[in-house]
């Protein structure tokens, strides 16, 4: 079993959920035009992933495993993610309206993001305990935040230069940026391992 620090560093650098597993691509392409929206999206992702995986861990280990219904993991995770995002939205709206306004449209959007589901499924596959799950989900989502932040930063700088070939504008150039970043992150391999 890797140490918690190992998991944390690995999920950000060597096993980055966006740049190594190529997950959560639609928001990276869609909302990375400027840094401020990218941060909004990224922070919401961190929030939702950490909370939902901490909800899914006990559900899996205390309900699904004892009853022998592990096959349901995928279905149940999707349902709990959807429900917990709903619940989170209601709670935030009632008790932390400023935070709710800051998250805005991002919170409900994340419900259907594959990264959220992937983190919950990975935690089962890799047989993490609760502490490791917490570190793993926090690290993965921070890694995703780092990826979208890098992409949006590069896009903002590119806009200043402004001579992206016509056919590559928009999604095209984002794919190239992502590919280059993924290659760059390969340089971390061997530093830490899961």
């Amino acid at each position: 079993m890797p140490s918690t620090l190992n998991i944390f560093l690995a999920t950000i650098l060597t096993h980055n959920i966006a740049l190594t597993y190529i997950l959560g691509m639609c928001p990276i392409i869609g909302v990375s035009k400027n840094i401020s929206t990218a941060v909004g999206m990224g922070v919401s992702v961190v929030f939702v992933i950490t909370v939902t995986s901490l909800i899914n861990w006990p559900i899996y280990h205390l309900i699904l495993v004892p009853t022998g219904s592990e096959v349901l993991a995928l279905l149940v995770f999707i349902l709990t993610i959807a429900a917990s995002v709903q619940l989170l939205e209601m709670l935030l709206e009632k008790f932390l309206p400023t935070l709710y306004m800051a998250f805005g449209i991002f919170l409900p959007l994340i419900t259907v993001n594959c990264t959220v589901l992937a983190v919950s499924l990975f935690m089962v596959l890799r047989e993490y305990n609760l502490t490791q799950t917490a570190v793993f989900s926090l690290g993965s989502s921070l890694g995703w935040l780092l990826a979208i932040l890098l992409v949006s930063g590069i896009r903002e700088k590119l806009n200043l230069v402004g001579d992206v070939p016509r056919g590559l504008q928009g999604a095209g150039i984002v794919m190239i940026i992502l590919g280059t970043l993924a290659l760059g992150f390969m340089g971390f391999s061997g530093m830490v391992d899961l």
């Binding site: 559900i59 619940l87 209601m90 009632k94």
Partner: protein, 359 residues
Amino acid sequence: MNLMPIIVMGAVLSALTLILAVADIFLGSHGEKVIDINNTKKINITGEDTLLNCLSANKIFIPSACGGKSTCGHCKVVVKCGGGEILATEKGFLTNKEVKEGVRLACQVKVKDNIKISLPDELLEVQEYTATVAALDDLTSDIKLLRLDLITPKAIRFKPGQYVQIFVPGYEVFRAYSVASPPSMTNSIEFTIRYIPKGMCTTFIHKALKVGDKVKFTGPYGHFYLDENSERPIICIAGGAGMAPIRSIVYHLKEQNMPRKISYYFGARTKKDLFFVDELKQIEADFPNFKYRAALSEPTPQDCWEGDTGFVTDAVKKYEGDLTEHEAYLCGPPPMLDAAVKVLTAKGLNEKRVLFDKF
């Protein structure tokens, strides 16, 4: 057989539903809220819904083409207080000036508290009408005349030039069409509708609708209408299905025996695309104050066209002199309108007196 997964799934589903339902009771806003319109009308609302839906449930119809999906940006209202902060989904549709004035999209504002809004008075008179299709005739190869006989309410009052929104069943959206009939015709209403390939409403009207079918629409809407207090001579420019509001204006003035001079310029591609020619020629013969000129941009040799060729704005340039005292009503595709505004202002017409209806 292992029934456990099924039982677990059922239990998880019911537990989640229960949690959400309980949360909704404790966290949702369920009290009675009041929508105050222009400080004169008050509506009581229970439950939580968007402003647009709350208003339409209370028979106040705000123009909206997309049906509340925040894609058309038509349902703008001024929210004085209680609407919460502006949302990311609205920003693209509002100018900085509008944001300062408190303009919001009614489909995005959730009524969570008492809310104060202001609406133009004419919107309070908008009603929902049910009508049957009385006639659906081809005017040209792609434009149809649609006549609706009103069922409830039995009569409609509008100003010549205004539009209504026709409901497209199945897609649950509204599309705006200018009224082509004069206001004196209160029990039925006419439109000229051009077929646009893949257009939701035009396909519905051209391909699916039959005489005798029921249609719903709301209206009237719009600031584009004849200024009846003015006595200025009028110049009208229209293209294609832009005929509709101008026809309404011309017929309205015809019924008053043409007290004002009107020159009507109509642009089309070929002779086949001209319509209502006989009607307009008849009015021209009856009233010396009315002049109708058509310009064809691409007349075919079979057309044997002896009238004006080129863009309709070229004809305006050719026949009109100084226009400083005139008033202009334009309806047609945006490039035509932009060209027309240029020609008219070059001839001395004040831009404030150029009214147009872009589509």
